[in-house]
């Protein structure tokens, strides 16, 4: 059974589309990897598989072994065997290679002929695909398997939870992280997702509120473009842990779309850590050089994710 050497499985859910599930999954994966864990990411969004794009491995093909599909590697383990050495802290060596665990991913995106092809499938076909992704991928030995889902509570989700409850043990099922944006329309859809988890017995690890505010790089005024506060209020109302709020960071978008290392204006301080103060763009090669996981440490969202992942780890591995 391909999931048997996976230690912890975390689902990333949201009732609402476009709140940043794939972004959050990507960043959780990178942050866990930076803490020295070996991570796998399964992208179960069959009609909009975004994960390969996030990791910059869109043009890779999936290789097949006698036992099943081999997940596409994003980066190999660095300085170690993909495990932590005690406290699991990433070594900040300022520019030199950082310690990180291995990261691999599987998505329908790799199996499509043309990236622009529409995958127009009805339920039963999607159900079968999800089952195959869970049983026929050779994940090997992983500390964490993150599963990125499409919006809603449809075939993919039902078959995902069904198959996991059958194939994985209760110790392996760490639970679900729910992503929302602060606005009312998102909150009302996310409430459904919380109830779905409750009905199906999936443990809710916490709620992350994404796109909570945009800070103008020019004048530092924070505008709540998608309203504010909804996530925390809802978490309290439903008695689920609130993991934190994330602002909109155009530098993260730039990192994913163009591969450029995030740079911030002079004096930007996030969470007590001074961000890269080099306000001038480096040459194109210098900017895009290096692994995604290393460039990500310069992003303002990384310290926030570091905090959230530390919280998560203390819950999952007490």
């Amino acid at each position: 059974m391909s999931l048997k050497d996976v230690k912890h499985i975390v689902l990333v859910l949201s009732g609402k589309g476009g709140v940043g599930k794939s972004s959050v999954t990507t960043q959780l994966a990178l942050t866990l990897s930076l803490k020295g864990h070996s991570v796998g990411v399964l992208d179960v969004d069959l009609t909009g598989p975004s994960i390969p794009r996030f990791f910059g491995i869109e043009n890779e093909k999936v290789r097949q072994a006698p036992g099943g599909w081999i997940p596409v590697p994003v980066h190999a383990a660095q300085n170690g065997h993909g495990r932590t050495n005690g406290n699991g802290d990433a070594a900040h060596t300022n520019g030199l290679a950082k310690v990180h665990g291995s990261l691999a991913c599987m998505s329908l995106g790799f199996l499509l002929g043309d990236r622009g092809d529409a995958v127009v499938w009805r339920g039963p076909k999607k159900t079968a695909m999800v089952r195959q992704f869970l049983s026929d991928v050779l994940w090997g030995s992983l500390d964490y398997l993150l599963i990125d889902t499409p919006p809603g509570t449809s075939d993919e989700h039902i078959s995902l939870v069904e198959t996991l409850l059958k194939e994985a043990t209760l110790e392996q099922m760490a639970g679900a992280v729910i992503v929302t944006t602060p606005q009312a329309i998102s909150i009302s859809d996310v409430k459904k997702e919380i109830n779905f988890c409750r009905k199906t017995g999936v443990n809710i690890l916490g709620v992350i509120e994404n796109m909570a505010g945009f800070v103008c790089p020019n004048c530092s005024e924070c505008t709540n473009v998608f309203s504010k506060g909804g996530g925390q209020v809802m978490a309290q109302e439903f008695d689920v842990p609130f993991m934190g709020s994330l602002p909109i960071d155009p530098m993260f978008i730039r990192l994913i779309e163009e591969g450029k290392k995030p740079v911030y204006p002079e004096g930007t301080v996030i969470d007590g850590q001074a961000m890269q103060t080099n306000g001038h763009a480096d040459s194109d090669e210098a900017e895009t050089a290096g692994l995604l996981v290393e460039k990500y440490t310069a992003c303002s969202l990384y310290p926030l994710f570091d905090g959230m992942v530390t919280q998560l780890l203390s819950k999952i591995e007490p």
Partner: protein, 264 residues
């Protein structure tokens, strides 16, 4: 039981049907659909809006109709609710708000058929369909069951959204529905404090994609905290700020679309 593809049927009393779609979630389909419907109504076109998002119906919140239940007419068909001069129907009116709709494809198909054919619409010039994200059962059922005058694809400028939007375009091409054009949503953000422009989600990605695919760019809607704020309050921009630039953008959009499909 008759096998094969369902035959397309017209919806009683309804003129043109336009789908507002995007394979990507969270780009603003519902917000755009609602504001388009309201703009059309204000231009004298009798309009209705049908929320086909079974899993995450947003129309009740956007039109301040949350918690309302529709009545049935003498033929046991659903009577649409009214808000701001527009008729509306959504599964959100039929199911308690916090309950998840965890249904498999077949049930979704049946529910879709009911929403399409068993709603007692008054005479409408235009029916706008707010489509859900993705390219699955709902999209297939709709395109196979009714005649669509056209589809408007909404996207944000970023590459990630566009890649999925392109699938939406591909889907409609595959089933032979004409693409009226694309709308670039959440384009530029102008800081209310210092007036600086920020292209948070990338610059003009939709415009470039339209040029690439040979599709019309119907409109460009900037990111403005007000649009979300008004939407959350159940009073969409066209109603809350009818003379503002955002409302103007929606009016221009419906005029452009109306000309192409032949609205009065």
């Amino acid at each position: 039981m008759k096998r094969g593809l369902p035959e397309k049927r017209p919806i009683t009393n309804v003129g043109k049907v336009i789908a507002v779609s995007s394979a990507k979630g969270g780009v603003g389909k519902s917000t755009v659909a609602v504001n388009l419907a309201l703009a059309a109504a204000r231009q004298g076109i009798t309009t209705g809006i049908l929320d086909t998002d079974i899993y995450g119906p947003s129309i009740p919140t956007l039109l301040n109709l949350e918690g309302m239940e529709p009545d049935l007419d003498p033929n046991n068909r659903l009577l649409p609710l009214t808000a701001y001069g527009v008729k509306a129907m959504s599964i959100g009116f039929l199911i308690p708000q916090d309950s998840p709709v965890a249904w498999r494809g077949l049930m979704v198909q049946k529910a879709m058929n009911q929403l399409l054919f068993e709603v007692s619409w008054p005479k409408l010039d235009l029916l706008i369909l707010d489509m859900p994200p993705g390219t699955g059962d709902v999209q297939l059922t709709i395109t196979q069951s009714i005649e669509l005058a056209g589809a408007v694809i909404v996207s944000t400028p970023q590459d990630l959204a566009l890649r999925d939007a392109v699938r939406g375009v591909d889907l409609f091409k595959k089933v032979g529905v004409s693409i009226l054009g694309m709308v670039q949503n959440m384009s530029t953000f102008t800081c209310t404090n210092c007036g600086h422009h920020h292209d948070i989600f990338g610059l003009d990605g939709v415009r470039k994609k339209c040029d690439q695919l040979g599709i019309k760019l119907l409109g460009d809607i900037p990111l403005h905290a007000r649009i979300c704020h008004d939407a959350d309050a159940g009073k969409p921009t066209v109603v809350a700020d009818p003379d503002g630039p955002q409302a103007q953008a929606f009016h221009e959009l419906i005029k452009a679309v109306g000309k192409t499909v032949g609205l009065p």
